[in-house]
Symmetry: C2
Subunit: 353 residues, 2 copies
């Protein structure tokens, strides 16, 4: 019996609704398999926690998490309680950084049973490899002067090591897929870092003569995600560009509520973290109608990470079947509650036992 210990952080808003739903599904997956088990330990770290304790997680939070096999996270952020940059840098971004989760993988594909906002969605299927440790997301910078003279400066920091690592990850991934990597750049407008990005891309590409490549400025690329998403395979992007492109990936699938993500620690020295692309959606929290698919598909990425790829593939197939059969939440045009979607997925999974 293989057993995985998972630290569960539902976080804020709908995270508290979709995480329990996904845990039920993971339990059903374990039941189907027979030879694996999960233990889930839950942590209530969130904006509510901040209001009570003045911090997003306890001082020993990271050392508590460190020995788990993975972290399964819902969503973080409730700007009514805590400014976003405080809550995110105190929990989500802190874990990504401290646990060296340097790569963020985010698949998007044409999903059966969803109505894409695109007139002709075609059969797209791509993965965005997002650099997850540096770039535009940095605490370097600050402010000077007050009032009318105030200036805020933000440093985007790109290292050769971090940039190259993300690109190599993308090329390796492309080799297992359709053999194509697209680089998201903006070297015409972002003067220092993006020409650097292009140079590193040109260097790395030389080591993968079997992989075809393209490079587009982020503005054009965002437009192409709308006009011809089926032409992409693996897309490598900086932290910010990856963030924007993957919400677009969610949008063209039919809902940001289904998009999954994995924050990967490539060295295996710390746990990786699995969290969907969507946020905490405070506006719909509490109604029991949040779409659990993003969280459940994220659980599939965790299964893949544990080497249980067959099980992961089964899970995704079942999720698509259930969606195609119309058991879906209101954001997808259905009438099912969060729990009903999860229950139906569990029921069908158990048929495979």
């Amino acid at each position: 019996m293989k057993k995985w210990e998972i630290a569960v952080i539902p976080g804020d808003g709908i995270g508290k609704e979709v995480v329990p739903a996904a845990l039920d599904v993971l339990q059903a997956v374990a039941d189907v398999h027979g030879g694996i088990a999960f233990s889930f330990i839950e942590f209530s770290w969130s904006c509510d926690y901040y209001v009570e304790h003045g911090q997003m997680m306890p001082d020993d939070g990271l050392s508590t998490l460190r020995n788990f096999d993975a972290i399964f996270l819902g969503a973080v952020g409730n700007p009514k309680l805590v400014p976003d940059h405080i809550s995110l840098w105190g929990l989500l971004l802190k874990i990504r950084r401290e646990f060296e989760q340097v790569i963020n993988i985010r698949p998007a594909k044409y999903f059966r049973g969803l109505s894409s906002p695109l007139a002709e969605p075609r059969d797209f299927d791509f993965i965005v490899v997002r650099e997850n440790s540096e770039g535009e997301y940095s605490e370097v910078g600050g402010r000077i002067h007050r009032g009318d003279d105030e200036i805020a400066i933000q440093n985007a920091v790109f290292t050769r090591k971090g940039t190259e690592r993300a690109m190599r990850y993308a090329f390796e991934l492309a080799r297992k897929r359709k053999g194509h990597v697209t680089s998201a750049t903006k070297s015409n407008g972002i003067f220092h870092t993006m020409p650097f990005w292009d140079e590193v891309f040109a260097d790395v590409k030389r080591d993968y003569p079997d992989v075809a490549t393209a490079s587009y400025h982020i503005d054009a690329l965002a437009a192409f995600f709308v006009t011809r998403p089926h032409t992409f395979d693996v897309v490598v992007a900086s932290n910010l560009f990856g963030d924007i492109l993957t919400d677009l990936g969610g949008a063209i699938m039919g809902s940001i509520g289904i998009a999954p993500a994995a924050n990967i620690n490539v060295n295996g020295n710390y746990p990786s973290m699995f969290e969907p692309v969507h946020g905490s959606a405070p506006d719909i929290y509490g109604k029991g109608i949040a779409n659990p698919i993003g969280q459940i598909w994220t659980a599939k990425l965790m299964l893949d990470h544990f080497g249980e790829e067959e099980l992961g593939a089964l899970l995704l197939r079942v999720v698509e079947d259930v969606t195609a059969d119309g058991v879906k939440t209101p954001d997808l045009g259905g009438t099912a509650a969060t729990k009903e979607v999860a229950a139906e997925i569990c029921r069908r999974l158990r048929e495979h036992a």
Copy 2:
């Protein structure tokens, strides 16, 4: 007789095809009106010029441009000849900066006769007000170390003055429209500058209690441009975010080839510059099939800027009629050449004489 002197810079690639087409149309506009005239002086500054002269424009380029009533520009960039950051910072971005064209306005609307990639495009009609003088586009930063240790740092610089100016422009514009401003932020991830952006927005908003507002992180907002573009009126965004959002605006209209833009010098101390959103498209240059509508709609923004708003409205109506009647370039599903589209627009304009 009112007369405007216009500096014309076709630039690179399809700029050299769509600019002459738009000049023909402007001439037809003048003929229709009877009481106005344009004089066009052309400058060949471009990447080809760089190859010959080692710079994108002559040393006295700016002082030559300075006394014109406006600058009408096609597209800049040909990475095969000159790296993008050199060509853009040597011409387009240089003019935007030096002539204090601090605001970039970019309308997008449901356009008759185009097939949007969206299944239900609805009747959207919004304007993105892009901060055009600072932010993520800055020459501040650099590199250190070589090889594996290389680091590139890019400073994004946001001043209170620049940020507030763009926001006030957006609020004033909203008052003349549907009274709604959306702020594009990313204060959850971009630690220093985006919380500052939010603070300035909150301050400016207090002066416009009659204008409704919303604020979204750029990732979510990009997705909303695909899922519900009809809900936006005026969107205010930083330099980079405005760049990305407006290519998306072009995409949902049906082609980036039709999207117009105006770089506005708000003090009137230097000329403003009019250039479409699209680039130089070296891949289709030379075939005579480039879509001239972006450049022609841009000419309409120039007419508005000269106070000839009725004439501008007529021009846009004629362009939409011609498009709806199927006289359009291949990128829009038509078979017309660049020149044919322009000729048909001129012909119909002259019917109004």
